[in-house]
Subunit: 589 residues, 2 copies
């Protein structure tokens, strides 16, 4: 074990002990509360309790204060081992601990209790040597959340109290500052400020309602993707959001994927499911018509909506939802076309990233393993061939990539493109998968030179822009809400100085809209200074102040987002300049 590992082990012990301290404080204040489990986690710890009456975040300061009081009385932990029966007697009124004790017994492990101060807790150990090593300013309770007992929605809902903890108060302070900073980028906060989207409990958790501003962004992204894909020979299709059980049996989603699918619906002609993937529907479309070798590749694309039955407690903003719209496509090609198609897909993705100004990403090639053939479809030649092809493509494009053995999908190798978001969250943004399995599952064929059916159809699954939900969350953070012009819900705002300037402002806004610019007039009764500050806070690219000088609408006073200066421009020059930047999807104003 090296020094860093030692330090990290020490920190974990510290956080674990603090979880005990939290439980001790809670049962002191709420003697009815039943403690369950409380591990150390990244940056801190948590503990899950069954409370008799719900508590709120207003209770956290009291608990935190009690923790510090108790801490001053703690010195060293003592440990005793006892039989499961004895332990269960101690927890006679805590069914959660009893269940844990049963499990420990079933595993044949010793049942141990640790005592700090006057507080004894069922525990496997892993504590700080002395409570004096804990900085009383090094921890803080951060928030509450609901959590199912053992993570299953069939069990009771518990209350989870989270704490942050570091070795020193200084480290804790820095951490809290970093979190505050991250909040500035938080997609939920910006989404609300800019009226992009919301989630309504009456409609349901994890189901996003896109407001007009958010819909503009979605539509602009779709328009760009559809145009670029159409130019590259993709054909759009539209498929229903559900299908019969039989389709998902053919695809293999049932029963393997059933848990994350929505519950079935019984109709008069069979059982229906909301779709978890678009591929089965696209395969049905490919198969519907006869294809000659000359017509391949067939590229079917759709902004398709898929459904995931996530637990309601795990849903969060746009990052974890139950209904997702994907920029999906499936390419059906011959073996000799795989390389060119894969390369085209990667080039398209790089082009998308250039438009959005993404730089910090890397590629990951996930390969099969010849040592674990039981995990993969048994076509060694195709594995070898296609991995070599993908490696060639990545090299030819000169992109950075890592290889991971034994991490492919069972049906073929894949390339994932990884990002670190501005707030440090690593995520897979795009994925390209090669699929050798669909051809036999769905009977995909083409008519070859010789007129015979050839069933060597390879499918490339690709979703370069992730889902609308995840991608827009990423973009909100990436731009910190300062949308480039082409994506801005409002591109220009007209700010009349006085009552008499309202009418020319409204008329100019109409002109701008008819010329393809999303323009809006601030009709409020505020001062122009306040209007400017409001427009700045809304991060609108262009502010046009309309006063006496501008009221005849020959020259405009143009103020760009983030600039304190105003420049003068004729209306026609302004329209031409803005349209040019929109068309170029320019990053600069």
């Amino acid at each position: 074990m090296n020094n860093t590992e030692n330090e990290s082990r020490d920190l974990e012990c510290l956080r674990h002990t603090l979880a005990h301290l939290l439980a001790a404080a809670v049962v002191k204040i709420f003697p009815d509360a039943k403690p369950t489990i409380g591990p150390a986690i990244e940056n801190g710890f948590y503990y899950d309790f069954a409370f008799q009456k719900p508590i709120s975040s207003d209770d956290l300061p009291t608990i935190e204060h009690e923790m510090r009081l108790l801490l001053s009385t703690w010195e060293h932990a003592s440990c005793r081992e006892l039989s499961a029966n004895e332990a269960k007697k101690i927890y006679s009124s805590n069914e959660f601990k009893q269940e844990l004790i049963d499990d420990i017994e079933a595993r044949g492990e010793p049942v141990t209790l640790y005592t700090w101060g006057n507080f004894e807790d069922l525990c496997r150990g892993g504590h700080v040597k002395s409570a004096k090593k804990i900085d009383p300013q090094g921890f803080a309770l951060t928030h509450l959340a609901g959590a199912y007992w053992r993570g299953s929605e069939k069990n009771p809902m518990l209350t989870r109290i989270y704490g942050a903890a570091f070795e020193t108060g200084k480290q804790l302070k820095e951490y809290i500052q970093r979190m505050e900073e991250a909040k500035k980028y938080d997609h939920r906060r910006i989404g609300q400020e800019q009226s992009l989207f919301f989630i309504d409990e009456t409609v349901g958790k994890g189901l996003v309602l896109w407001l007009p501003n958010g819909t503009v962004i979605r539509d602009e992204i779709e328009r760009m993707a559809v145009k670029m894909e159409t130019d590259r020979g993709y054909h759009r299709v539209v498929t229903p959001h559900l299908a019969k059980k039989e389709l998902f049996e053919t695809s293999g989603h049932l029963p393997y994927y059933q848990e994350s699918m929505y519950p079935p619906m019984e109709m008069d002609d069979g059982t229906y499911y909301l779709k978890g993937m678009n591929c089965p529907h696209h395969h049905i479309i490919y198969r519907h018509q006869q294809h000659s070798y000359r017509e391949l590749p067939v590229r079917l694309a759709e902004y398709g909506t898929v459904y995931r039955n996530e637990l309601s407690g795990t849903l969060a903003g746009l990052l974890r939802v139950r209904s997702l719209a994907m920029n999906d496509a499936h390419i059906y090609c011959r073996k000799d076309q795989i390389k060119a198609e894969f390369k085209d897909v990667l080039n398209l993705i790089l082009e998308y990233f250039r438009i959005f100004g993404f730089h910090d990403y890397w590629f990951r090639l996930s390969r099969w393993s010849s040592k674990h053939t039981e995990k993969y479809i048994n076509e060694p030649e195709n594995w070898k061939f296609s991995e070599e092809v993908i490696r060639d493509v990545l090299s030819e494009l000169g992109v950075d990539y890592v290889e991971r053995e034994n991490e492919a999908a069972f049906y073929g190798p894949k390339v994932d493109i990884q990002f670190t978001s501005v707030i440090g969250r690593e995520e897979t943004m795009s994925t390209i998968q090669l699929d050798f399995a669909a051809k036999s599952r769905f009977g995909l064929t083409y008519r070859d030179h010789d007129g015979l059916q050839n069933n060597d159809v390879f499918v490339i699954h690709r979703a370069p822009l992730s889902t609308h939900e995840r991608f827009i969350a990423f973009l909100i953070e990436h731009y910190a809400g300062k949308w480039p012009l082409w994506l801005s819900p409002i591109q220009a705002i007209l700010l009349p100085v006085g009552e008499s300037h309202l009418s020319p402002s409204i008329s100019l806004a109409r002109t701008l809209r008819s010329r393809g610019i999303r323009a809006h007039t601030d009709e409020s009764n505020e001062t122009v200074g306040k209007k400017i500050r409001k427009a700045e806070s809304q991060k609108i690219p262009y502010m046009l102040v309309i006063g006496d000088r501008e009221a005849d609408l020959t020259y405009l006073s143009v103020r760009k987002r983030g600039s304190r200066e105003t420049s003068s421009s004729s209306i026609e020059d302004f329209i031409a300049m803005v349209n040019d930047k929109i068309m170029m999807r320019s990053a600069d104003l």
Copy 2:
């Protein structure tokens, strides 16, 4: 009773007797078959049977032949009345007839049996006086269909045999010719020929898969509608396809509409339904934000998908489906804005109709009735006011309309726009409804001049272009598959004369596509004559024959759909001409 009514009564008797004749022939050939019921219908008759073994349409000629043999032996019908018990003995092995007898008895009606030839059947009467009045060439069996006993999917599925019947063989022949003619326009046939859409049993009945060609048409219609609505101040939103039970309770869809909704899905946080309407979601969006009187009207628009749980046996092509995409919008306005908004909506609809070349339509204003106030929301002043407003608008626009009293929705008056399709089917294409009920159900308000909440928010529901499914079915028939240029999936096809002309054709197609024209090359090995005939049958607007003279791509030989002549044009002129017509959505080539 006048003469026409007499004739129509006679024809109904004739058709009813033929239903008996059909049953007689069926039980003669299939002694195990159980006859159930068989009424006269428009243009003919049907009879439902429970067969032991399924029959196919191949059996129809045999049955029809047997009908003619039996008919020659029939003269007059005799009737006898008997007790329900006696009748049930006769039908001891036919549970369907027994159920009918129980119902007759429960209603206190007499149980009567009619005998023609040797065939006796439970019947209330209404027959031809003499079988000699039936022209043996005046009827024909047309097709088979499945039908649930008494129309409920909880009952067994029966086999329904349909026949057409008229007084004379000549009339029957004319009818059959009319039906053949209608088939030319049949949206299912054209949809298949032009690869627009299909329905796949594995995906499910009533769920349309839109092929690339059909998706082009959908997308063009959407693009037009979105542009025209955006220009008129509509804002697009996107809402999920499902919601919790509670939302549909608030809206009133549950329990009243539950039967036609999809079955519920139980999730860990409640019960979810696929939506049958977009309005509840839009109301939630309106309510999400505070609105000032100055911001109204708020116009929220969405190509939203809604779901109807139709019985699988009733589903047909695009006309009766289970998932429908609607060009929907809801306008939230003040009372003083109703007139202007209603007028704008009607003007927009007339503009759409002009673009599509519709002429044969009329308006129907459905009003409340002051005599049936129990059926309507109790706001007499609003009824009076809004009906007057709508009548004014219809008069000002100078359109033909009829009024129907006591046919409004319970929440407000509506205007339907009625069409007769080319094959004679009357349908409602567009509907505009005024809604006084949503404001109180959903608590819709705005902040008035005085800063107080005013809850007098009126909602206009409007769907001018029906659903994609129904509208495209209508358009297919309206154009008989000859799409106007802007809607044509392929706008120009390049027909290389020989092998050497393939490469310049492909290159030209690429140029045309990059200039916004959907161009495609016929790469088959057929003769150019065959290629032209194929393009004509596919109804492609422009055919460009590429031979030696055109291979340098300076001048093109352009042949328009439906014309036998070819004209010469430079590439640039052709592109400009085509783009101009596309932009104008011109009806002419």
